[in-house]
C-alpha cells in the first residue's frame, strides 16, 4: 500500500539503507557488549529504528505495555503475541519485569527471546561492570532508569547456558547490547553475575 505524503517524513527508518546501517551498529553492539552505539541521527526514535531493522512478518513481537503506536505496528507487519512466546519483547526498563520470556531449548537456544528495553539514559547513572565474550578484560556501563530487578531476573533466565535471553538497552538515541553470555556486576553492590 503506497503511503500518503503526510506520513513519508518519518519513513527513513523503513528504508533498506537505514535498516542496513542500523543493523551494523546493533551487530557491533552485540559484538562488544556494553559499548554505546548512537543509532538516531535524524529525529527518529532508537526504538523505531531498532525494530524496523530487525522485525518483519518472519518474526513475532510482544508489546505488553503498548509502547508502540499503531502505525509502527502496522509497518512492522509482524504478528503480535504474548511475551512468553515472542521472538522480540518490547518493555519499559523503568518498570520491573512482569513476564517470563522464551528461553529457548537445549536443541534450539536461539529461540530465547530478544528483549528490547527502553531506559532513561545510557552513559550516565548507575555503574555496571561487564565481563564475557566481546569484552577484553572488563567493560563499564552506566545506565539511568533500569529497574534493578531486570538484572536479577536476567541472571536467573540466563542461569543455564545456552538457554537464555539477549537484551538490547535503548534510550532515545543510543543502544547497548547485553547478550546472554555477558556477566554483569553492579558496582559497589553484590554480584548479579550470570
Amino acid at each position: 500500500m503506497a503511503l500518503p505524503d503526510s506520513l513519508s517524513h518519518d519513513m527513513q527508518a523503513w528504508t533498506a539503507s537505514s535498516q542496513q546501517h542500523i543493523f551494523r551498529q546493533l551487530m557491533r553492539a552485540f559484538s562488544y557488549p556494553g559499548r554505546i552505539e548512537t543509532l538516531a541521527t535524524s529525529g527518529a526514535h532508537a526504538l523505531t529504528l531498532t525494530l524496523a531493522a530487525l522485525i518483519d512478518r518472519g518474526s513475532s513481537l510482544a508489546d505488553p505495555q503498548n509502547l508502540l503506536d499503531d502505525l509502527t505496528r502496522q509497518r512492522l507487519q509482524t504478528p503480535l503475541t504474548v511475551p512468553e512466546r515472542a521472538h522480540f519483547v518490547v518493555a519499559d526498563g523503568t518498570r520491573p519485569p512482569a513476564f517470563t520470556p522464551a528461553l529457548g531449548s537445549l536443541e534450539s537456544p536461539e529461540h530465547g527471546a530478544t528483549i528490547v528495553l527502553t531506559v532513561v539514559a545510557l552513559g550516565v547513572g548507575t555503574d555496571c561492570r561487564l565481563e564475557g565474550p566481546g569484552i577484553a578484560g572488563s567493560q563499564s556501563l552506566a545506565v539511568t532508569g533500569l529497574e534493578p530487578s531486570w538484572l536479577e531476573q536476567r541472571r536467573s533466565w540466563n542461569s543455564a547456558f545456552p538457554l537464555g535471553v539477549d537484551i538490547i538497552l535503548l534510550d532515545t538515541i543510543h543502544a547497548v547490547a547485553l547478550p546472554r553470555t555477558t556477566r554483569i556486576t553492579l558496582k559497589g553492590t553484590q554480584s548479579w553475575a550470570t
Binding site: 539503507s17 551494523r24 552485540f30 559484538s31 537456544p109 565474550p133 566481546g134
Partner: protein
C-alpha cells in the same frame, strides 16, 4: 504459460545486494543470535544464490546481508584475491552492490570474505571476517543424526569426539586432523572452524574482530565473537600442532618471493619434479606477501 504469454524484458534489474530485504533481515536476526550464543549453529533459510552450493553461498549471503555503502570489501580464496572463485564472488558483489568499494589490501577492508584462510595480518575491531563453510558440524564424524548432534552440542557433550581423536593417537601416534580442526568456543560449543589450516586456528582465539561463519548448503550461521576463547580440542600429553614448515635440516622454510618465515606456505611443484626436488615455497596470503616485499629492506636484513 498461456499461449499469449511473452517474457517481459524490462525486469532484469537486481536490487542492492541481490537478496530481497526479508531474506536479509532473517539473516541479520540469526547473526545476532549467533553472536549471543558463541559457536552455536543457528539455522536459517539459506536462499539459492546464482553460484553453486559449496562455492561460498553461505558466506556470500552473510556478506550481502551485512554490506552497505560504507564498507570496503575484500574477497579471498586460498589466501589469494585473484583465485578463480574469489574473482567471481567479488565480481558478483561489485555487480549487485554498486556503491561498495573493494580492495585487495587486508588493512583497508571492513568486510573480508574468505575461503580456507584467515589473513596473516591480525584483524582489527573495525573489521568483520566472513568464512565460507562446507561442513558446519564437527560432530558429524561421530554422529550422523542431526537431532542427536543438537542435543550433544546443547549439553556440551564432546566425549565421543575426544574418543575419536584418542583412537587417532593410538593408531598414528598423532592427531591426523589436518584442517577443520575442532575448536571449542567460549568453553561450550565445539565448532568446525571451516577448512582453515591448523596454522590459522590460533587467530580465532581472542580475535579483535568478529568472525562469522556461513554454511549455505547446510543452512547454518555461527560466530566467534571478538575477545572470546577459541581452543582447539587437545589432550595434555599430545599438544596441538600447526603445520610444520621446517626443512630436512630443521630450518623454517621461507617464502621464495618475500622471504617471510612467519607465514603459511604453499608448496609449489616445479615442472621437473621427478625426484621431488623441484619444489619452491611461497606465501599463501597474497596480500601479506606483497606487503613483505614492499618492506623488503627489513626482509633483507632478516635474511642476511
Amino acid at each position: 504459460m498461456n499461449s499469449e504469454y511473452e517474457l517481459p524484458q524490462d525486469e532484469a534489474a537486481y536490487s542492492f545486494g541481490f537478496l530481497d530485504e526479508y531474506a536479509k533481515r532473517e539473516i541479520r536476526r540469526c547473526v545476532l543470535k549467533a553472536i549471543s550464543i558463541p559457536g552455536y549453529q543457528t539455522p536459517y533459510a539459506s536462499r539459492e544464490m546464482p553460484m553453486g552450493r559449496g562455492f561460498g553461498t553461505g558466506g556470500l549471503q552473510l556478506t550481502l546481508a551485512l554490506i552497505g555503502p560504507a564498507d570496503t570489501v575484500k574477497v579471498i580464496d586460498q589466501g589469494a584475491d585473484d583465485s578463480v572463485n574469489a574473482v567471481s564472488l567479488r565480481k558478483f558483489i561489485e555487480q549487485t552492490c554498486p556503491s561498495v568499494d573493494s580492495t585487495e589490501r587486508t588493512a583497508e577492508a571492513t568486510l573480508i570474505q574468505s575461503r580456507h584462510r584467515i589473513p596473516e595480518l591480525p584483524l582489527e575491531e573495525a573489521q568483520v571476517l566472513v568464512l565460507q563453510v562446507p561442513y558446519p558440524d564437527a560432530l558429524v564424524v561421530v554422529e550422523p543424526s542431526e537431532a542427536r548432534r543438537k542435543i550433544m552440542h546443547g549439553e556440551g557433550d564432546y566425549s565421543r569426539l575426544l574418543t575419536k581423536l584418542y583412537e587417532d593417537i593410538v593408531q598414528f601416534k598423532e592427531i591426523t586432523i589436518s584442517h577443520r580442526y575442532p575448536t571449542r568456543i567460549n568453553g561450550h560449543y565445539v565448532i568446525d572452524p571451516s577448512p582453515i589450516p591448523r596454522y590459522d586456528v590460533p587467530q580465532l582465539h581472542h580475535s579483535k574482530a568478529l568472525v562469522l561463519l556461513g554454511a549455505g548448503r547446510e543452512k547454518k550461521i555461527y560466530a566467534v565473537p571478538p575477545y572470546c576463547n577459541a581452543e582447539p580440542l587437545v589432550f595434555d600429553d599430545v599438544p596441538f600442532r600447526t603445520e610444520d614448515f621446517t626443512d630436512a635440516k630443521g630450518q623454517r622454510r621461507a617464502c621464495h618471493r618475500c622471504g617471510a618465515t612467519n607465514s603459511f606456505l604453499d608448496e609449489i611443484i616445479g615442472d621437473d619434479d621427478a625426484q621431488g626436488l623441484d619444489k619452491t615455497w611461497q606465501c599463501s596470503d597474497a596480500d601479506f606477501c606483497r606487503g613483505q616485499r614492499e618492506s623488503s629492506r627489513v626482509m633483507a636484513a632478516q635474511l642476511a
